[in-house]
């Protein structure tokens, strides 16, 4: 695949960057409001993430289409209008066709407008890159966001209520641990997840360095 964007990244690298290396939650720590607000269960987390994914893909696509026509002085207000309109579209659609979930997520859907991750991607990526690259970036970032929300929702649902996606996994006499359902539980669970992600990243880095060192050792021996 030929690199076409300013950083010279392939589509897979853009996706991996959005999903993992530059993950909205794990790496950038953006979008904390919906993260802490709705992740009391894995299902809530998923639909919140899905709504955000829709807005993100839409805004990245539109911004990368119009990027050459919007003067840079007014690009931020223009992006905000685009994002706010898309959020309203998602809000109305969920109200009409997913009424039950809409009642649960309620206020957090309109609040996607102020999720700085979305404006951040429009400004940092879509305004400088091609349509296909911007789409890939939105998909990577969006799925990374869903992944983080579902993971945190699952942890809180498992420890808080002994359930996963509404199914009891510890039996019905599991004593609910209220702390995990309340906001402090979200912070604590997020802290442990971040520690785990950092540990994993450190391990991967060490492994890569060891491999690189092994390669140079071989080349030294060979010469």
């Amino acid at each position: 695949m030929t690199p076409s964007n300013e950083n010279g990244l392939s589509k897979q690298e853009i996706f991996a960057d959005g999903f993992w290396h530059n993950n909205t939650i794990f790496a950038q720590l953006l979008g904390m409001c919906p993260l802490l607000g709705v992740t009391t269960s894995a299902e809530n987390g998923f639909w919140m993430g899905f709504a955000t994914l829709c807005v993100l893909v839409g805004s990245n696509l539109i911004v990368s289409v119009v990027r050459d026509y919007i003067p840079s002085e007014v690009r931020i207000p223009a992006y905000i209008v685009i994002i706010a309109s898309l959020v309203t579209v998602v809000d109305l659609s969920m109200n009409a066709w997913m009424h039950d979930m809409y009642l649960v997520l309620g206020l957090f859907i309109p609040l996607i407008v102020v999720n700085c991750a979305i404006l951040g991607r429009a400004e940092a990526f879509a305004s400088k890159n091609s349509i296909s690259d911007s789409f890939m970036d939105a998909v990577g970032m969006g799925f990374g966001f869903i992944f983080a929300l579902v993971l945190l929702g699952a942890v809180r649902e498992i420890f808080g209520q002994g359930q996963l996606f509404g199914f009891a996994i510890f039996g019905s006499d599991y004593p609910d641990v209220l702390m995990f359902i309340l906001p402090p539980g979200a912070f604590i669970a997020l802290g442990f997840i971040l520690a785990g992600v950092n540990l994993l990243n450190l391990r991967l880095k060490a492994k890569k360095e060891a491999e690189a060192a092994a390669v140079t050792d071989e080349s030294v021996v060979a010469s």
Binding site: I82, L92, Q161
Partner: protein, 227 residues
């Protein structure tokens, strides 16, 4: 006279176009979702009505009438009728203003004799996993069945009453219990007025139905939307 250079004109024009397109999109979307949203809300109300009214032979949504509680406030009442058309129960929405976070709306079904058929919470903003037991905890919801003003102490157990509170959430069930009790008191004082309002409204609905049926025949159009 103020004059704008080309760059300024371009800025104004581009913002104008973005806003115009966004407005058009939202207008279209609003039109497209208007009917489905109303339909989803009706369906949600119907789902709750089925649970709080004893086996009705009519359409409680169609027979809905407005009952003036005070000069400023009217109550939408959904009557449940038996085969002969006699009212056997009413359902209406009772609002508990003192939930843990905001109002809790409760749909309560009450038999003509003053016993509760069932209650369901239709909207709330209580803490997920704590206060929202009022929507999920069937045992708790069922503890309202057949309760009257006389046979029950209308408090949570912590306050010396008959209803369970939840672990970590007392405010929410307390608010619901209080609101349901107020609903029953309202019914007791307005029992006769309610029946009168129902009969009056029923005549209007029937006339409107006849008119709508007539319109349909003459115009071949469905203009028969009765409120």
């Amino acid at each position: 006279m103020i004059s704008f250079d080309r760059a300024q004109q371009k800025i104004a024009l581009s913002l104008f176009v973005v806003a115009l397109v966004a407005t058009l999109l939202l207008a279209l979307m609003d039109k497209a979702t208007h009917e489905p949203i109303a339909e989803a809300e009706r369906a949600a109300l119907h789902k709750s009505l089925v649970q709080v009214l004893p086996e009705y032979k009519n359409d409680p949504l169609h027979d809905m009438f407005e009952f003036p509680l005070s000069t400023a406030q009217t109550l939408k009442v959904y009557p449940s009728r038996d085969k002969e058309g006699k009212v056997i129960a009413y359902a209406w929405e009772q609002i508990a203003p003192d939930g843990y976070s905001g109002s809790i709306r409760i749909l309560m079904g009450v038999r003509v004799s003053g016993e509760i058929v069932a209650i369901r919470v239709t909207s709330h903003k209580e803490t997920p996993g704590l206060g929202d037991g009022i929507t999920k905890d069937e045992k708790w919801l069922n503890s309202f069945v057949d309760k009257t003003l006389k046979n029950t102490k209308w408090f949570v157990k912590k306050d010396g009453g008959d209803f369970d509170q939840f672990t970590g959430a007392t405010v929410t069930p307390r608010a619901v219990v209080k609101a349901v009790q107020q609903g029953l008191t309202m019914y007791q004082t307005n029992q006769n007025a309610l029946l009168k309002a129902f009969n009056e409204a029923q005549e209007k609905i029937m006339q409107a139905d006849i008119k709508a049926a007539g319109d349909k025949q003459t115009e071949k159009k469905s203009g028969g939307k009765t409120q």
